[in-house]
Every structure is written in C-alpha cells, then in structure tokens.
C-alpha cells in the first residue's frame, strides 16, 4: 500500500524530553511558539479591519461635515486626551519590559511590570469615565435629548466669561450645528467606547497573566502567553495613537 507516502523512520531521536507546556500535536516548542505568534497576528489583523470599518465611516463623514467635526472636536478637553495618550504609551513601555523580564526568567519583575501595566490601564479607563461624565453633563450624547448649544447656554447662565480669544464666530449656525454634530459624537462614542471595551478586556487579560506568572508557569523557554497579551496590549495602544489625533485634534488652529 505504499504510494505517495513512505513512512518516515524515526529521524532525530527524542533527546530532550518535551517541555511540559508543549502540546502533543506540535513537533517542538519552537514550532508551537511560531504558530502562536502567527495566530495572534492574524487575530490582530481582524482587529485592524474591525476598527478600520469605523475609521472609514469617520473619514467619509469628516469630509462631508468638516466644520461640524471641527466645532464638535473643540468640545473635547485636550488635557485629558493628552494625558490618556501618555498613560497608554507608558503602559506600552511597561508591557514591553514585562515581556523582557519573562524572557530573562525574572519572575519578580515580570509580576511587577504586569501590575504597573494593569494600573496604568485602569488610570486610562478612569480618565475616560471623567470625559464621558463631562459629555453626559453637557447633553453631548447623541440621541433624544442631544443639545449642542446647552454648553454655551450653561456657561452663560453661570456667568463664565469665555476665555479671551476663545470665543469666535462658529462657521455654522446653531441649528446646523445641532443637526450635523450628532454624527461626530455618535462616532466619538462608538470609537472610544469600543476602544475602552478592548481596554477592559486587556486589563482582565493582564490580571490572568499576572496570576499565571505568580504561579510560576513561565520560564525562559515558555513565556508565550505573556508575549501574546503584550501584542494585544500594544495593538490597543496603537488604536489609541490613531484615535487621539483623529478625534481630539480635528481643527484646533482656527
């Protein structure tokens, strides 16, 4: 019955006993690691296209309603946005250092860096809560009681004199702003909400990996879970790197 297949003799003898974490259907740990890396990158590919659909919708509406986008984007506080970007880039650094610690079999520092990354992630989510709370207060959430001019009226009532140079003639009438800025805030909430959801999943993942590291499951040969969650974390950071200029810095120079 021999045809296309001549049964292989036992080539290389099984010198090293397979690492406990090596699964049965892989020949060696290197093949398993390579498969995991490519699998993770394919997953990140789906995430790129997942967020990509939102970015395409954003681009189209930005071309159509540029003035409305510029006007609405000015409502976002640059301070919190900038702080969040710094926090997230910092967490990327600590994540990379955590992966490095796992590579060099330094269990203590792996756990420390992972905890710092988790904390930075929670700080990011905290800042998002602050920003969302401000939007809800100013009736800037699209839907039934969306009211773009509430912010000005609210300021005028409390007698806040708008900062010098702050007040300039908006290029669109209040009715038009009310009509077209809902799209901006719909996209804002969908994009940052989805990103925050991914951040929450990331924090959960960090806790699981920290617990596994604490149980001593990783060593210099087998640290794949740490690296995979690192890839995921860096990806979520990259999404924010694009979100920040697109949403916060639409047209700040007028």
């Amino acid at each position: 019955m021999s045809n296309a297949v001549a049964h292989a003799d036992h080539g290389h003898a099984r010198a090293d006993a397979p690492h406990p974490a090596q699964q049965h259907h892989f020949d060696n740990l290197a093949q398993q690691k390579e498969a995991a890396v490519i699998g993770m990158w394919l997953f990140l590919l789906t995430e790129i296209l997942f967020f990509g659909g939102l970015f395409v919708a954003y681009m189209i509406y930005r071309v159509w309603y540029f003035d409305a986008f510029a006007e609405a984007s000015r409502r976002l506080s640059l301070f919190w946005g900038g702080l969040n970007t710094a926090v997230l880039i910092g967490s990327s650094l600590t994540m990379a250092l955590a992966v490095r610690a796992a590579q060099t079999n330094n269990r203590k520092w792996t756990i420390n860096w992972l905890l710092i990354t988790t904390i930075l992630g929670c700080v990011f989510l905290g800042v998002k809560v602050i920003e969302y709370e401000d939007k809800f207060a100013n009736h800037e959430v699209p839907g039934y009681n969306y009211d773009f001019s509430y912010h000005e009226r609210h300021l005028a009532v409390e007698g806040h004199a708008p900062a010098a140079g702050e007040h300039r003639e908006p290029s669109l009438s209040p009715e038009q702003l009310q009509q077209t800025t809902q799209i901006y805030f719909s996209l804002y909430f969908t994009m940052t909400g989805l990103h925050a959801l991914h951040m929450i999943i990331g924090v959960g993942l960090m806790l699981v990996i920290t617990w596994m590291a604490w149980k001593g499951k990783f060593d210099a040969q087998y640290y794949t879970p740490v690296e995979m969650s690192g890839l995921y974390w860096h990806f979520v950071d990259i999404v924010w790197i694009f979100l920040f200029p697109l949403l916060y810095l639409v047209n700040r120079h007028i």
Binding site: K33, W41, L45, L49, G82, L93, F244, L249
Partner: protein, 109 residues
Amino acid sequence: MSEHVSPVSLYVTIFLSLMVLTGVTVYSAFVDMGYLNFPVAMLIAGFKASLVVWYFMHVKWQSHLTKLTLATGLFFLAILLAMTLIDYTSKNFTPQPPPTDPAMAVQPH
C-alpha cells in the same frame, strides 16, 4: 523565533520618542497648514504606530510571515478606504438636510 531580547535602553528610547512625537502631534494641530494638517497628523501617528510595532511588538526580529500578515491587513484596509472614497469623491453631492415630516407641513389654503 523571537528569542531576541532587546536591551532596556532600546525600550526607553522608543518610549521617549513616542512621547516627543505625541507632543509634536499636538503642537502641529495648532499650526494652520490648511489641508496639510490631516496628512501630517496621520504621518506622525503612522510613524508612532510603526515604532510600537517594530520594536515593542518584536516584529523586527520575527519571521517574514508575520510581517506579511501585518502588511496584508493594512493592504485590505487601504482597499476598503480607497474604493469607498472612489464613490464618495466622484459623487457630485453635498449632504442636504433631509425632507421634512409632511405631518408638520404648511398646507396652502
């Protein structure tokens, strides 16, 4: 395999350059460059993203297949954006406020 372990100094330099680039992005948003603003912002963000991918995510030392996977993703995202823009840029149409609800219409007597 990415058994490659990069020095801590590399990570710190990448981190600092990312922070500097964030500053540059924010600054460049306040400079009026007309229609150039958007491409500049996207270039800076793209460069920052490639820094993170290349060094933090170790793609620099990984197999060609990983690099190919990333490139495929970006290529198909570019297809989605470009071909949707083919329609929107060539459509001689600016958004109109939609027709009103006839129930509230003014009826000629």
